[in-house]
């Protein structure tokens, strides 16, 4: 049942994802790319969970590396997207 629930959630997210993305105008496609890229850093949660559950040094090292990678992805991704979006203004206000 758990697996089926997860698959159902996945399928709904697929449909929802395509509807949502289709609404983003070309104007914002570059920020969309970097913004979703930041979201893919959600794997940071996986790294924390696996790191916490692991005992072996190898597993913990792998998880730590994953944690660092994912954190860069998250932090860098959201900041760089914000930098881009900051520039989109209807009227310049220099």
């Amino acid at each position: 049942m758990i697996l089926i629930a997860s698959v159902t959630i996945f399928v709904l997210a697929v449909f929802l994802g395509f509807e949502l993305i289709a609404r983003v105008p070309t104007l914002l496609h570059t920020p969309l790319m970097s913004g979703t890229n930041a979201i893919s850093g959600i794997i940071v949660v996986g790294a924390i969970l696996v790191g916490g559950a692991s005992e072996g040094t190898l597993e913990r090292t792998l998880a730590f590396l994953a944690l660092v990678f994912a954190s860069i992805n998250v932090v860098g991704g959201f900041l760089v997207t914000d930098r881009m979006l900051e520039m989109f203004k209807r009227r310049p206000d220099e």
Binding site: S6, A13, N37, S40, I43, G46, L49, G52
Partner: protein, 467 residues
């Protein structure tokens, strides 16, 4: 050190669902430039919630481990995001994306090692998901790094090709799949490690033969892959934030690569395996002075612009190369002050990223209501006095409309040749990304202003001021 309290698994699961909702709302708000920035922060809050609630779980007890990891990530990520140039955005996205894919591979591997070491066998769906992530992750990592290298010009941008390449690639990819299957059946760590390595090689082989200019499509695809990596990890850990977040990323990457392909009138398969851009090296190396080409001077163009009623600027990749976005804006301002109706025509694949031109012009504070999309502006060219092409080439090539044999035939273009006068600013007669000649340059209404875009615009500004 441990946290004083530990929330129940249920509360944390609810927090994950909430994080997923914030991602959804955040992306929804990206559908308008007015709300986009707030949307990005809402997604970030979702991320914060997901991470924060994870830390409250009882099994997370080594906070030093987590804090160190996050701190190193932040120390590297913040300056990178602050310092990167707007023109280097494609590389930046490739780099970050590779890290995400790498993280997915590492997490799946650690989890696989953990349960392969334990007594008893793991549930089948967990094994399958882990294997899937081990196949996708390293490929995403290495592919993104190669893409980064090509865009950063650390690696040759040209497609690296040899005979039998596709066969070789298929063989390596087949090997990865077989290894993955074996690793799954035997729950064998060594086998999984081999899978990781071979998948890494697949990523390199896949992206090396693709031309630098096709990188955005590749990056979008790899973005989708890193999203899928997150989804599979979500299945392993039964974590809805990963499943939903990853799926949204997967949808975004997939749709963006499809849209880019469509705008170039090419299939994704053609992008991946067509080694497009290869012919560029042998393309026409014609120079100024060619028969039928009319070169002009900044002074002449300045007069034309100053007395026009409507001017449309058409930026292209050359604008990004020359970093001339501020100059085009400055010229537009002067013209507008003189009462000229100024617009910008944005082709969906102008530049090297979807929305590339929008980002550059936004950086130069061009209000986005002056930016016109292809369909809107094409109807306006017949009422346009001067179309100024700033470092664009393929996206204004009429061959796409009327030369059935051309490699870009069928790609929708900006119909600049329907305006009264065309001025093309570029450095030479050399071709653009598609490596083909452009009949527009030989058109009787076209005059060529041969110069670097930034230099040309600066002299135009000076010249218009004296008109």
């Amino acid at each position: 050190m441990t946290l004083a309290f530990a929330l129940s698994q249920n509360v944390v699961s609810a927090a994950y669902a909430a994080a997923a909702v914030l991602f959804i709302v955040g992306i929804r708000m990206l559908s308008s430039p007015r709300t986009a920035r707030r949307g990005n922060w809402i997604s970030a809050v979702g991320m914060l919630i997901a991470v924060g609630f994870t830390l409250t779980l009882a099994e997370i007890d080594d906070y030093l481990f987590v804090a160190a990891g996050l701190a190193i990530g932040a120390v590297l990520g913040v300056p990178a995001a602050r310092l990167v140039k707007m023109t280097a955005m494609p590389q930046m996205v490739a780099l970050l994306n590779g890290l995400g894919g790498g993280a997915a591979a590492l997490v799946a591997t650690a989890e696989f090692f953990r349960f392969a070491g334990a007594a008893g066998s793991a549930p089948a769906d967990t094994v399958v998901a882990a294997i899937f992530a081990a196949l996708l992750g390293p490929l995403t990592f290495s592919g993104s790094m190669i893409a980064w290298g090509k865009l950063q010009e650390v690696l040759p941008g040209r497609p690296v090709v040899f005979r039998g390449q596709q066969l070789a690639n298929a063989a390596v990819f087949g090997a990865a799949v077989v290894l993955a299957a074996l690793a799954a059946v035997a729950e064998n760590k060594a086998m999984l490690s081999l899978t990781l390595i071979v998948s890494f090689v697949v990523g390199v082989l896949l992206v090396l033969p693709i031309g630098g200019a096709d990188m955005p499509v590749v990056i979008a695809l790899l973005n989708a892959f890193s999203g899928l990596g997150g989804v599979t990890t979500g299945f392993i850990l039964d974590n809805n934030a990963l499943i939903i977040g990853g799926t949204l990323v997967g949808a975004s990457g997939t749709l963006l690569s499809i849209l880019m392909g469509r705008a170039m009138n090419r299939s994704i398969a053609n992008v991946l395996f067509g080694a497009f851009g290869q012919i560029a090296a042998g393309g026409p190396a014609a120079v100024a002075g060619d028969s039928g080409v009319r070169a002009t001077t900044a002074a002449d163009v300045a007069v034309m612009l100053a007395y026009a009623r409507r001017v449309v600027f058409v930026p292209g990749y050359g604008l990004a190369v020359a970093q001339a976005q501020h100059d085009v804006r400055a010229l537009a301002d002067i013209l507008q002050a003189r009462g000229v109706d100024v617009r910008y025509a944005i082709h969906p694949v102008a530049g090297r990223m979807p929305g590339h031109m929008n980002v550059l012009l936004a950086e130069a504070n061009v209000p986005y209501d002056q930016l016109y999309e292809m369909d809107q502006i094409n109807a306006e060219f017949p009422q346009t006095d001067v179309a100024v092409i700033v470092g664009a080439n393929d996206v204004v090539n009429p061959a796409a409309r009327n030369q059935p044999g051309s490699p870009i035939y069928g790609m929708p273009i900006l119909d600049v040749d329907r305006s009264a006068n065309v001025v093309v600013i570029k450095r030479s007669m050399s071709p653009g990304f598609a490596g083909i000649d452009n009949p527009l340059f030989y058109d009787s209404k076209t005059s060529m202003l041969f110069a670097d875009a930034k230099a040309a615009l600066e002299s135009l500004i000076a010249a218009v001021k004296t008109v």
